[in-house]
Symmetry: D3
Subunit: 138 residues, 6 copies
């Protein structure tokens, strides 16, 4: 039971229709999934802003390959307990080449980190001076 | 202020000392960070079990490279709000080759996913039939 | 599939029946939603305590108007990933006057905060001295 | 201990300097807090994107007043356990007019919702048919 | 850096002073920890309501012994990432008799559950029909 | 809709079949729930590792009785919002002797802790010096 009924193509505002067209062009597919349809049903400006950000982060050239990006997305979505996002990004990762072996490693790391996160919090482990990396990455 | 004072090398039980020796051998470094010292102070069996699992997941051969593994670990740790783990794995990822450009992309994906996770939950977006991937990865 | 079957009106204990009567009187409606019925099925004392607190916080006079209170409730429920609570409080907020424009702004803020929360945690941003507000609100 | 040292004004790239200038102009204050300085130290594009979104959501005209927006931001930040964000947005909300009475009501709602979220999850309360609001807000 | 400076005994309102007196009487100790002092600084009504609930849940007779209650409290606090609560309830549990062996088992369960929670969410495991316990506990 | 279809007994690898046999022997029941079937469908090594850890933590002799262990597991699972785990461990706890009174106390503590966790985070309560327990449990 959604809180807002996902919008069909018919009846979209011109602004939402333009976003849907860009989603289709960017992905090379006619399929527009319910996440965008729900945003379209709520608010054109939010739809446009979120899609713009997703396009900038996930579809633009960069140093991380598409499968790695999707696996990081899955890691966050699992930890946040977002069932829809787990489904959509697991499907996306597989479509982009995540094999069963990669998925098993991904879930093993998520499970391990969830465990050690809890332990570090329970023990209030003091941050080692050696981890002072405040000069940032190379 | 930790809830258990991290253990020094002196005074470790033989079982804990063996784990510390394996940490040093596996990593090729004399440094044992506070996470393991806190576990050692609490319980030998827990220390041994967690280290065994971390070694199996993070240090064993596999399909994901070491930097990718650390970035997934960071994604989970950030989402769980574990400050110690963010520090230790950001340092580890950088030591294993995460550049500033990679870190920027990683944080961009974490930020984006956090946002769309919240929206999908707020809208209770219904899972698309197209995402039925119950046959699993290829 | 609930873990406890929600209680019907028939068969309530006198203590639970009194709570249900107060819910109906406070809300001016005969409808008692499943949250209260599930608590009634588990424990009368817990039902009474939670309802008493909700009445004190949400139904008592105060400085925040009813729609604002419900929007804050939604913000917490979305972040905690509580699907039932998202549904019940979205319905309540709309019944109390939340328009589509307000809901779009609410979700935009929730999405934005989720994103900057993750970034601040990932970067371990030091709290600015200017934010020292320990004297509290005016 | 931050993971990236917040950037000083000296040495900013032109792109980051432009964002800082817009932050100052939008807020009518010379103060740029560490959140933006940390982003500037990591990545110009991310800084620009996050600021653009915050400006669009928090500083643009809309139906919710500035204090209400900040209180919703606080609700999310508390629930996500982001200490930096709790501090910065509590300071912002007070500066924009949140009184002690409003803050007490805000925290009372956050505490109540946290409690009922947990109970609804523990009981797996089935969503009432009456909450079917899939036609969305009026 | 707190967002509200914890209240000293001097200057408490009569209502807050009465709560502090009840805390001292209930616990048989003159010590009132900062959690209650922070609430007192913010709002008397919230202080009174939260203390009343804590007293009803943690200090009243029941089927669970005091150490078990504290361990459950720790499990929730660790999972929510509340550092203050982890410290205060770890101290309380130890004062009430939690041994090192019990603490090691507690943390082992928290770590294990954190791990399997993540895996069940990632795999979207369907609830077994055998777990239909909607008739509730015996 | 699972992301991986739970594995049936027929077609299991020898390694997975051995884990299933150990689950049946350890529990004295032929029933193997979907959590293990989903892991079996994804990866034998992960299945073996997680089961080994669960057996070591939940089925081994120790100081905490089986019902207490399950209640701690429920507390974590509720807080993480894992619906599957709430169902499976609520069923397990009841099978091991959790009465309705115990379940009501458990949920009361979970609800209370969720509430005070949020308040302590919102107020950024400073940890009392009296809670310095870094020498650890007795």
């Amino acid at each position: 039971m959604p809180t807002v009924r996902p919008a069909a193509d018919a009846g979209l505002s011109p602004r939402a229709a333009a976003v849907f067209a860009d989603i289709r062009a960017t992905r090379g597919s006619d399929f527009v999934n319910n996440f965008w349809r729900s945003l379209a049903a709520l608010d054109d400006a939010l739809l446009e802003r979120v899609w713009g950000q997703l396009k900038a982060v996930m579809a633009a050239p960069g140093t991380l390959d598409p499968v790695t990006r999707e696996m990081i997305y899955i890691a966050v979505s699992v930890t946040n307990g977002c069932s829809y996002c787990v489904h959509s990004h697991t499907a996306a990762a597989r479509a982009k080449g995540m094999t069963g072996a990669m998925e098993a490693e991904l879930l093993s790391i998520i499970a391990l980190a969830s465990q050690t996160n809890a332990l570090a919090t329970a023990l209030a482990v003091p941050v080692d001076a050696a981890f002072d990396a405040s000069d940032g990455p190379p």
